[in-house]
Amino acid sequence: MSDASLVEPIVEYRGVSKFFSGIRALEKVDFACRPGTIHAILGENGAGKSTLMKIMAGVLKPDAGDVRVSGDAVQFPTPQSACDAGIVCMFQELSLVPDLSVADNICISDPPRRFGLIDRRQQVRRAEELLARVRCEDVDPNSLVRELSLSRRQMVEIAKALGRDPKVLILDEATSALTSRDVQTVYDLLAELKAQGVASLFISHRMHEVDALCDTLSVFRNGQHIETFAKGTKSERDIVRLMIGRDVETQFPEKPLVSSASDAGEAILEVSGLKWGRRLNGIDLTVRRGEIVGLGGLDGQGQKELLLALFGVLRDVDGSVRIGDRKGIPASPAAAKSAVTRMALVPEDRKTEGLMLGMSIADNLLSSSYAQISSGPFIDPTKARDAVAEGIAKLQIKVGAPDDAVMTLSGGNQQKVVIAKWLMIDPDIILLNDPTRGIDVGTKQEIYKLMRDLANEGKAILFYSSDYAELIGCCDRVSVLYGGRVVSEQVGDAITEESLVSASLNIDTEGA
């Protein structure tokens, strides 16, 4: 470490801040990374890791502060200019073009040319060389990317990044879908690059990978850079503590005193061995009436897929599910909401899946409950008006007039419209997919209270949140998912930030 810190940093941030519509993503971040290191960036969901990387890669521009590359202040207008400066980024969402071939993708930004035209033979040869470097000789350079499995695509992505001769290589969750053999390949490759003086920035939620691979660790929390230290100077337990920090507690409604299983209501939703593709690998779960069950874990461990599967959105789901007295998964969202045991899903992205943004607040509120407000084939205007008024009053949605377009509302009020819309069908089971994402604290608290009230009315709530504080404050039980499985179930007072974070990373802090 003492040697490394003498080396001039290749990338340096000075007082960099970034805001998204007033919400802080990064604040006054000072950060440096040096050539010949493998640098881990750690932090909870929303800590600002991705923003940090996107600024480096030219996707976002900082609102304040400057970024220096090899000592010179730079502003990258496009990803291409960052790439020209030797900063190559592999994003969590893949940046491959599915309809082009593997070779096309690997050489996409600077293909070999003959007489100005792309030389396909040369291109295939270059792709083969790079694929051989990542030990993926089994991938045919002429096959289309869409034909490959997710793990192969990630390896192609790595080959593509290598082909650009990086000085700084950013790996954002680049190993999330890899097999253990591939992971070893990537390890070897990174070690090789390190010896060549390349700086690698490594974002991973797997502590054991960070441990095996990285020499320097930086912890981020709430958009701030907390600390940078050499590997081995802190225990895993200390690192977890740094990641959580000491935040101001939000107010949560009081939980009922009875939280032992025997006192709770009847089990209304029973899931066992639920499987879907590679994302769900045998989920077991029970939700009772009057109970809020949280889904914990890091992003992308199958929580969203579980909710979608239960709501009848996914095809070819295996495993047994009992909803009320009925066995089996509903065939579609339409079936899920109109069954005897009604189910509602507040989706992940309210702008595309939750709302029809251009339509009025009233139309949005009614869009799930036409069965309840119609007489025969026609919508009953009186019932509709009453239902809209009731929905607005119940959630205290701040609206000018119900006929205004829903996009004129603030994020918090939009989310209230989504929730109110689903409450109109009087659901028995409510699935919530990160319902407080991107909304203000006041509305968050109203939603917490509403959830508790609904549970007290005897509804069953399954609640995914990427915010641990919410899970602790709201839930009677939390199931933590990792790799498409429930790895830990925590009840009542046993739900703590430490236990949740440890379970999310699938490590055992007690043993550390």
Binding site: E93, L94, D99, L117, I118, R315
Partner: protein, 348 residues
């Protein structure tokens, strides 16, 4: 190995392979049923009638690959048809100049489309609906009444066989030279289409710009993140579309020796071009397919209409049958959706 490659090619180009097979079957059947089937005369007549729609369909392919639609291709063809009817005559040099001017004006119109789409940030379908009307307006200004003055020799030479071409202009011993014998019966229009496809389309497809067009249609975000020249590719695509539509207009003028600012005809060509693109295996979502497929698709549409002549079918039934055939053919592409695992993906 070779079998494997062929199999993979078919798997990756199911739509195009199906279209090719369908065209082959239709052509063979048609010629077998035709009293003078498999003759040069039939081939010349059929190919003449197919050239304009082939070029317009190839023009439509580019915006479709980007994930959009161009409603002005038929109008650009009509406009350039009218321009050509005014300028393609006189001395050989003047005719050449007229032809180049026609192609340039079509390309310029395509360039305009591209700039409006890129810098005006307007969806292609509505931008080209407007510019298409502009093109028809210009065409009417150029040629208020049908008619025109295209060199007769040129018209004769380019709409017949290679032999006639050589005969008209007196090269290769008037078509009797030994080296031209093997090609003498090939219709010139087929040759023109093949040359444009080989000299314009294939190099474009293999350029970085062409590659970018596919990448944009497949995943625009990934294309941007990979640092590809997105605006340049979009503008080039529309410009090339204008050029190909102008090829259609120019040929139509040469073939008919006249120009006609026919609004109905322009609309019909635009709609048929979309049908041809889809038939040829290009996805309306963008990102996969190609102009060669559209060429085949356009020929399929034409051959179907040729059948009506020899089968003695009531002309009133023609649209009905054409509609059913088209519906059946495009349904093949819908099988993809049966494999989607997350139903939300269907809406993305």
């Amino acid at each position: 190995m070779r079998v494997f490659r062929l199999k993979r090619w078919v798997m990756q180009n199911v739509g195009f392979a199906t279209a090719l097979l369908l065209l082959f079957v239709l052509l063979i059947t048609y010629n077998m049923m035709h009293p003078r089937g498999f003759s040069s005369a039939v081939a010349i007549q059929n190919s003449n009638e197919a050239v304009a729609i082939i070029f317009v369909a190839m023009a439509q392919t580019l915006p479709v690959l980007l994930g959009g639609l161009d409603l002005s291709v038929g109008a650009i063809m009509t406009l350039t048809n009218c321009i050509a009817s005014e300028v393609v005559n006189g001395s050989p040099a003047q005719m050449l100049f007229g032809a180049v001017l026609t192609l340039l004006s079509g390309s310029a119109f395509g360039l305009l489309n591209g700039c409006i789409v890129v810098y005006g940030r307007i969806q292609p379908i509505i931008a080209t609906l407007a510019t298409g009307a502009v093109a028809i307006g210009l065409a009417l200004a150029v040629r208020p009444k049908p008619g025109g003055n295209v060199d007769d020799d040129l018209s004769w030479a380019l709409t017949n066989s290679v032999y006639d071409l050589a005969d008209t202009y007196g090269f290769a011993d008037g078509g009797d030279a030994w080296w031209i014998r093997p090609f003498a019966d090939i219709p010139v229009p087929i040759l023109i289409v093949a040359i444009v496809a080989l000299v314009v389309w294939l190099p474009f497809k293999r350029s970085v710009t062409g590659r970018t067009v596919y990448a944009i249609g497949s995943a625009e975000g990934a294309a941007y993140m990979s640092g590809l020249p997105i605006n340049r590719a979009k503008i080039t695509a529309f410009t090339l579309g204008g050029f190909l539509a102008a090829c259609g207009g120019l040929y139509l003028a040469i073939q008919t020796s006249s120009g006609n600012a026919d609004i109905q005809q322009a609309g019909a060509y635009t709609l048929n071009s979309i049908a041809a693109v889809v038939l040829g295996g290009t996805s309306l979502l963008g990102g996969s397919g190609g102009a060669i497929g559209s060429l085949v698709g356009a020929m399929i549409l034409r051959v179907i209409s040729f059948f009506f002549r020899i089968l003695d079918i009531d002309p009133l039934l023609q649209p009905l049958i054409e509609g059913f055939v088209l519906l059946t053919a495009v349904s093949v592409g819908a099988f993809r959706t049966l494999r989607v695992k997350n139903k939300l993906d269907l809406f993305r």
